[in-house]
Point group: C2
Chain length 112, copies 2
C-alpha cells in the first residue's frame, strides 16, 4: 500500500542539530526532509556527491555556496537548485529564528 | 552550473488544462511541477506506471484514488504519497477555486 504522510507534520526539534529523515527510497531516487535551525556546514567542509541532488527550500531560508561562486545563493521558500554530481557545495547559513525545511531528491550514484 | 528557479513562480494558467513542467531530469529521477485547476482524470482512466512516483501537494487540494481503495485520499498542502510501480491510481478531483500545485518525483523505469 502507498506510504503517505505530511511533509510539514511532526517536525523534529533541530535545535541540537540538523535532522534528516528519509521520506521515500525507491529505484532511482531517495527523498529526504531536512530540518535546520541555524546550522551551517563545518568550516572547510564541502559536500562532494557522486549523484545529482535536487533541493528545494519550503520554509525558512539558507545560504548555499557552490564552489567557484563569489557568494552563497540565498534560498527562500520555493527556491530550488539542481546540484550535479561532484559539484562541491556547502551550507553557509540557515535561519536561526525559524526552522528551514528542505526537500531533497538524491538521484542514483553515478559510477566513477 | 546548477539549474535554479522558484517552485511557486511563473505559475501557468491551468484553466484550459493541467500544466506539467519538468523542473529537473537527472540519472535516476525526474522532478515535475504540475498545476491543476479543477481537473480530474477522465472517466475510467487509470495511471499505470512502470516506475515509482512520489508526489506531494504543496498548494490547493486533490482527491487521489488508489485502485482497490473505497474512497479517494484527500491531499492537502504537505500531504505526500509514494505510489509504487503499477499501483493504478487516478485523480478524482482537484480544487476548482485555486490552483493545486503538485511536486512529483518519478523514479526510474523498472524493467518488466
Amino acid at each position: 500500500m502507498p506510504k503517505a504522510g505530511n511533509f510539514f507534520a511532526d517536525l523534529p526539534d533541530a535545535s541540537e542539530g540538523e535532522a534528516t529523515q528519509i521520506l521515500a527510497a525507491f529505484p532511482g531516487a531517495r527523498v529526504e526532509r531536512i530540518v535546520s535551525l541555524g546550522q551551517a556546514s563545518p568550516p572547510g567542509f564541502w559536500y562532494d556527491q557522486a549523484w545529482t541532488e535536487w533541493v528545494v527550500v519550503l520554509s525558512g531560508g539558507a545560504g548555499l555556496l557552490i564552489e567557484g561562486e563569489d557568494a552563497p545563493r540565498a534560498l527562500r521558500p520555493g527556491d530550488f537548485l539542481e546540484i550535479p554530481a561532484h559539484v562541491r557545495h556547502r551550507v553557509e547559513w540557515t535561519e536561526a529564528g525559524q526552522p528551514t525545511i528542505w526537500l531533497a531528491v538524491h538521484g542514483e550514484r553515478i559510477p566513477a
